[in-house]
Structures are given as structure tokens and as C-alpha cells.
């Protein structure tokens, strides 16, 4: 069996998912052996841009230059896998997607100065622009979930990813429920895979893996409202990492006029 040709690319984000690949210390040498890493510019300088079996793409897309590069990768790759919450959902930089105000925020940072390196726009996930075969979320991705997916791909099988929320992992660990204590916990909304790491440290889930499959936004919203959280704060906290994924879902929530008033 010939080893799959792989490319690893990074766009707007923290490079944490590429770093997690480099953090697979014990398996790194095997990984470079079982695959043919054609391009991985964070790790090496002899990169070849040709046909790929799998392109792993980290980060959201926020400049014209990146968009062109992404389209070129898509053309050359048989399979494109989004890795990390920024590539999958847009990440923190997409938390205000569909709320407007990007121009104002941009000016708030750069003023009226002219930047010619490329034209910038509000960050969006990779699948807003090109077809994506698989999303491996995480902030950052989990080593074992990533390596599990790569092993399956090397064996020409389809990778399996968790399809349930963080709450399930929290129950396995028999953690006391943080939400039950009245603290804001994004566990019910968030895709599992991290091992419920924050609740296991007595800290609430911050939602950094983005929305889980089939989530019930309305139920979480009502529960948090009962615990005394205001509608705006709930939506703001839910959108912190979920960006594009949550932006669609929060439209289902319509605070009543009375609630809006109370929130002020």
C-alpha cells in the first residue's frame, strides 16, 4: 500500500492544531513514516505543492489571499479535512458573524491606515468557501482523536468521531454537574472529545469544540434562564467559540420583549 500524500496548512487561528500534531511526540516519527508529508510549512522548509490525498486545514479564512490559497489546496486534494474549531466553525474571531460591525472593529484596530499585504474580511469557517469531507473540531484538536482519524485514513477507512455532547464524557467521569450548581456550563451544547477536561477541573465547559450534533439550544437556553442568566449573556457565551455553527442556531431563540427589557 502506498502511503497517503498529506499536506498540513494553517490559516487564521493560533496554530494550535498544527502544534498538537507536533505534540504527538511519541507517534511523530511513525506519523512521518506512515504518510508522505508533502507540505507542512510550520514544521519543515522543503515543501512540495502538488496532488494530495488528504489536506488538513487549520484556521478560519479572513483574507483574499487565504481564500485563493484555500481554493488551490481544494483543487489538489482528494480529501479536505478541517482541523480545529476555527476551521470547522470560525472560532473566536467569528463570534460576531451575522451581527455586523466588522468594518467598525477593523477600524478600531488599524484606524484608517492602508494595509496592502491583502484584503481582509470577517473570519469564516473553511466550509463557507469550499467542500469539506470531514471536520475534526477541538481547541485544540485532541491528539488521540486526530491520530485515530489518520490511522483510519491510512487503512482507507472512514474515521469515527464523537457525536454526543461533553455531558456524556462528564458523566463517565462521575463529575458533579456544574450546571446543576447554577454556573454557566456549555457542556450540553458542545461536542465531546476533550474528555470533559474543564468540568474535571471544577471549571465550567467554555464550549471550545463548537456545537455538537443534534443539540437542543432551546432547552439549554431555558435552563440557563431559570438559573438567572440574561438572554444576551447566554447568546454571547454560546457564540464565544461556536461562531458560524451557533450563529444559525441562536436564530431559533427569540427572547420576548419582556426579557429584553429585563436584560437591560
Amino acid at each position: 500500500m502506498s502511503s497517503p500524500k498529506i499536506g498540513v496548512y494553517g490559516f487564521t487561528g493560533c496554530a494550535g492544531d498544527q502544534l498538537m500534531i507536533l505534540n504527538c511526540e511519541n507517534q511523530l516519527v511513525d506519523l512521518f513514516g506512515a504518510t508522505e508529508i508533502r507540505s507542512f510549512s510550520m514544521a519543515k522548509s522543503d515543501n512540495h505543492e502538488g496532488e494530495l490525498d488528504v489536506a488538513f486545514v487549520e484556521g478560519s479564512i479572513s483574507t483574499e489571499e487565504q481564500l485563493e490559497h484555500l481554493k488551490d489546496i481544494r483543487k489538489r486534494a482528494k480529501m479536505l479535512i478541517a482541523i480545529g474549531t476555527c476551521a470547522c466553525w470560525g472560532g473566536p474571531q467569528a463570534m460576531k458573524l451575522e451581527e455586523g460591525g466588522f468594518e467598525k472593529r477593523y477600524k478600531g484596530v488599524y484606524g484608517n491606515a492602508k494595509i496592502t499585504v491583502s484584503k481582509a474580511f470577517e473570519a469564516q469557517p473553511v466550509d463557507a468557501f469550499v467542500r469539506v469531507e470531514l471536520k475534526i473540531p477541538g481547541c485544540p484538536i485532541d491528539k488521540s482523536e486526530f491520530l485515530g482519524a489518520v490511522s483510519k485514513l491510512v487503512a482507507k477507512r472512514h474515521p469515527y468521531l464523537y457525536r454526543f455532547p461533553v455531558c456524556a464524557e462528564c458523566k463517565w467521569k462521575e463529575n458533579p454537574c456544574i450546571l446543576w450548581e447554577g454556573k454557566f456550563c456549555a457542556g450540553p451544547l458542545t461536542k465531546a472529545g476533550c474528555g470533559a477536561v474543564c468540568p474535571s477541573h471544577n471549571m465550567p465547559c467554555v464550549g471550545c469544540w463548537g456545537p455538537t450534533d443534534d443539540l437542543n439550544v432551546g432547552a439549554e437556553y431555558n435552563l440557563l434562564k431559570e438559573k438567572g442568566y440574561g438572554p444576551d449573556e447566554i447568546v454571547q457565551k454560546m457564540k464565544k467559540f461556536g461562531g458560524a455553527g451557533v450563529a444559525k442556531l441562536v436564530k431559533e431563540i427569540k427572547p420576548t420583549a419582556k426579557e429584553k427589557e429585563a436584560n437591560k
Binding site: C14, L19, K44, P92, Y110, K240
Partner: protein
């Protein structure tokens, strides 16, 4: 007119490049370009509660994640008048030591060393320098473990919070860290020996200024409330704007900083230049043995400084863990006010990182983050330009020039994601 380009600049974190503009034999301009897209994080955290900000801002950078977390905590705790318990302080010190070893081992052995030995990557070095690659991976793995035990996760851990930690490391975890840190000191010393054995070309040498956070109690350390300047007066971190006058340039989404209209450098070399005399133990001996005046003008020595600092960080761990283990787990300290302002300054692996916050009625009004790479960008260009001019005058070809410039840029260990997210508010 002729232009030479290095795009992308490999073996650095983030998307950057170098552009050299030549007019005949004259170097018109050398720029380090930042292609990484903007994220506007400081604008996005406006209106958030401080507890939410400390989840979001570490995402600026995966390599300096804990430095961002700690700088934000320091800034916000000042703003909210929170005095964290001693055990929290000590555990934060330990997590910073972990991040320092993680980043310095990655940069020295895996990202910079291939340049000095003439390989395209550390993976390509496996056959000839397999033991050194394994040393790097051992150090990195251990440092990641220290970060995981203290912060909850290797990258973007949420265990450190305002006023303390969600959960403290167990005595068993702490004693294992102490034991392993002692075992790994020789791996760090080997990096010092390697980087001390190389010839450093004189081409990039230009006198510069160095800034670093002044650690308290006349010790070497990674956080403090004042800033040391090698050619200037010690300054309160709250006056960070005077030290980092910012501007926007066309070739970059990262802003630039200068001090009194001149470039300056931050990072391991700056820390050792300003505080190296305070280091004890093996690392202290290594500093005394290898420090020279050339460090003050040649950025390539930052690699050597990182190796010495990594030795220091490992040597600190046994004492640090012992102190933590001796204390009972305290509750997190609550905020005593909901309006105020504060600046947190810490030493990220690549230099001083500032987080400034203004909080009103429990919500963030202003966030201003100035990253080390943004502070270094001017200095990188000054040294690259000097190097290019001298090499061309010496009749060196493009094939020698471009790798030399890459090595200079890489020596600063640039974190381009960080620099990009670096953004400030214009206050009228």
C-alpha cells in the same frame, strides 16, 4: 529594481514572509511581511465579562497560550482588586516554567537547529542527529506534561482562573515533575553546548536595546510589575505605551513598536542580558561561561540564550513544586470591585507580553494586547537590512543571502499568530 522573496517563511509559527528590495547592489528595503489574517480579538472581547475574556484571549496563540492567560489574569486581577492566594501564584510560576521549556526546546532543537546543521527540518536530521531530536522530543513532552498538570490541558487549558485555580496538582504529580526535571537538565545543557559550538556570522550585527520584565526579589523570573531597559530607566508596566509606541505598516497585519524612535528586542536574550547575573546553579555557570558583548548586537545569540534559559527553568522546578506541595489548596479569591483598570506584564517565551484592561460595571470596556513578536518586528528588519547590505558588498549571492535572512528572522522565534492578533485601540 529587483525583488527577492521568501514565502512562506518556514519553521515559524504563523504565516509570514520576507521581501528584499534591491536597487542594483543597493538594498532599498528588507521587510518581514505578515500574511496571517487579522482576528480583531481585542475588539471582540469588549462588553464581555472578565471570566469570559480569560477563555478567549489565550486563543491568540497556541505556543504562548499560558503567557496570554497569565497576562490577562494579572491585568484583570489588578483591575478588579483581586489578590490571589500564594499557592495560586506559585502554581502560575510553575506553569510558566513549563511553557518556557516547551517553547524553548521546540525552537532551539527542532526549528532553529536544522539551519545551523544544514537540514530542511528536524525530521531530516533523524539519521545523523537522532539523539538530539529525541532529546528535544523528551523535553517537549515533559514540558507539555507540566503545562497539562498545571493548566488542565497541553494547549489552551482552562484550569487557571481569576483568583486561583479550579484544581491544584496533586503531591504525587508535583514530586514526579521535580524528579523528571532533574533528570532532563543534561538534555538542556546539550542544547547549550550545541549552540555555543557554532560560528555566528558578523553580518547582522547592529547595536540594539533590550527590554524585559523585572522579576521581583532580585531573582530571575517570568513576571513582574516593572520593565527593565538595557539602555534606559526602569519603567512601571502601567506605562507600557511609552515603551511600545505603536504604528501600522502596509506590509503587515501586525502592528509595529519602537522605543524613542528606535527598534528594540525582547526575548530570552533580553532577559539574560538584563537579569542573567541573577541566575544560580548550572544555568548561572553556563551564562557566565558563554555571555559576551556580541549578544548585545547579534540576534543569532538568542538561540543560545534560549538553551541556557531552558536549563534555568528545569533547575527551578524542584524547588517550585516543593513550595506548592507544602501549602493547602485555597479557595479562589473573589473580585472586590467591578470597575477599574490594570496592566499585566509577563515574559512569554519570545519576550514581554502586555495585557491592559479597563473594566466598568463588571464588563470589559477596553482591551489592549501588545505581543512580543510585534515589539521585535522592527528590530528583525534592522538586522536583516544590515546583513543584506554587508553580504552583497562582500559579493555573496542570493542563494546565500536568503537563508541568512531567514535565520535572522527565525532567531527571534517569531510568533506570527500572536503578532497579528496584536491590536490596540486608538483612544482619542
Amino acid at each position: 529594481m529587483k525583488t527577492l522573496e521568501v514565502v512562506p517563511l518556514a519553521r515559524v509559527e504563523g504565516d509570514g514572509g520576507i521581501t528584499v528590495t534591491l536597487d542594483g547592489k543597493k538594498v532599498k528595503k528588507v521587510t518581514l511581511d505578515v500574511h496571517e489574517g487579522p482576528r480583531l480579538i481585542e475588539q471582540l472581547v469588549r462588553g464581555m465579562k472578565p471570566e469570559d475574556d480569560v477563555n478567549v484571549v489565550p486563543r491568540i496563540c497556541a505556543i504562548c497560550t499560558l503567557s496570554h492567560k497569565y497576562a490577562a489574569l494579572r491585568g484583570l486581577e489588578k483591575a478588579l482588586a483581586i489578590d490571589p492566594p500564594e499557592k495560586a501564584q506559585l502554581t502560575r510560576d510553575l506553569m510558566m516554567l513549563g511553557e518556557n521549556v516547551e517553547s524553548n526546546s521546540l525552537h532551539t532543537y527542532l526549528l532553529a537547529l536544522p539551519d545551523f546543521l544544514g537540514y530542511p527540518s528536524a525530521i531530516a536530521m533523524l539519521n545523523d542527529y537522532g539523539d538530539d531530536v529525541k532529546r528535544a522530543l523528551r523535553l517537549k513532552k515533559f514540558a507539555n506534561h507540566v503545562m497539562e498538570v498545571t493548566s488542565g490541558r497541553i494547549v489552551h487549558g482552562e484550569n487557571p482562573g481569576l483568583g486561583g485555580f479550579g484544581k491544584y496538582p496533586s503531591k504525587k504529580q508535583l514530586s514526579e515533575i521535580a524528579l523528571r526535571a532533574r533528570e532532563l537538565v543534561p538534555d538542556a545543557v546539550r542544547a547549550v553546548e550545541l549552540f555555543a559550538s557554532f560560528e555566528y556570522p558578523e553580518y547582522p550585527e547592529v547595536d540594539t536595546n533590550f527590554m524585559s520584565v523585572n522579576a521581583p526579589n532580585k531573582r530571575f523570573g517570568l513576571a513582574g510589575d516593572t520593565i527593565l531597559i538595557s539602555k534606559g530607566k526602569e519603567t512601571d508596566a502601567e506605562d507600557y505605551r511609552k515603551l511600545t509606541s505603536e504604528r501600522v505598516v502596509p506590509h503587515s497585519f501586525a502592528k509595529r513598536s519602537d522605543y524613542k524612535d528606535k527598534s528594540f528586542a525582547v526575548g530570552s536574550n533580553a532577559r539574560l542580558i538584563n537579569m542573567g547575573e541573577r541566575i544560580e546553579g548550572r544555568a548561572g555557570d553556563l551564562f557566565k561561561e558563554h555571555f559576551s558583548d556580541r549578544w548585545l548586537k547579534n540576534p543569532l545569540f538568542n538561540n543560545l540564550a534560549q538553551a541556557i534559559e531552558m536549563t534555568w527553568a528545569l533547575e527551578q522546578m524542584p524547588e517550585a513544586t516543593e513550595k506548592i506541595a507544602a501549602l493547602e489548596d485555597p479557595k479562589r479569591t473573589e473580585a472586590t470591585r467591578d470597575t477599574g483598570s490594570g496592566t499585566g506584564a509577563v515574559e512569554a517565551p519570545r519576550g514581554v507580553l502586555y495585557h491592559h484592561y479597563e473594566v466598568k460595571d463588571g464588563l470589559i470596556e477596553v482591551a489592549d494586547i501588545i505581543t512580543p513578536t510585534a515589539q521585535n518586528l522592527d528590530d528583525v528588519e534592522v538586522h536583516m537590512k544590515a546583513c543584506a547590505e554587508r553580504m552583497l558588498a562582500d559579493g555573496r549571492g542570493d542563494d546565500e543571502l536568503l537563508p541568512a535572512l531567514e535565520m535572522i528572522a527565525r532567531a527571534y522565534d517569531p510568533c506570527i499568530s500572536c503578532a497579528t492578533h496584536l491590536v490596540t485601540l486608538k483612544r482619542l
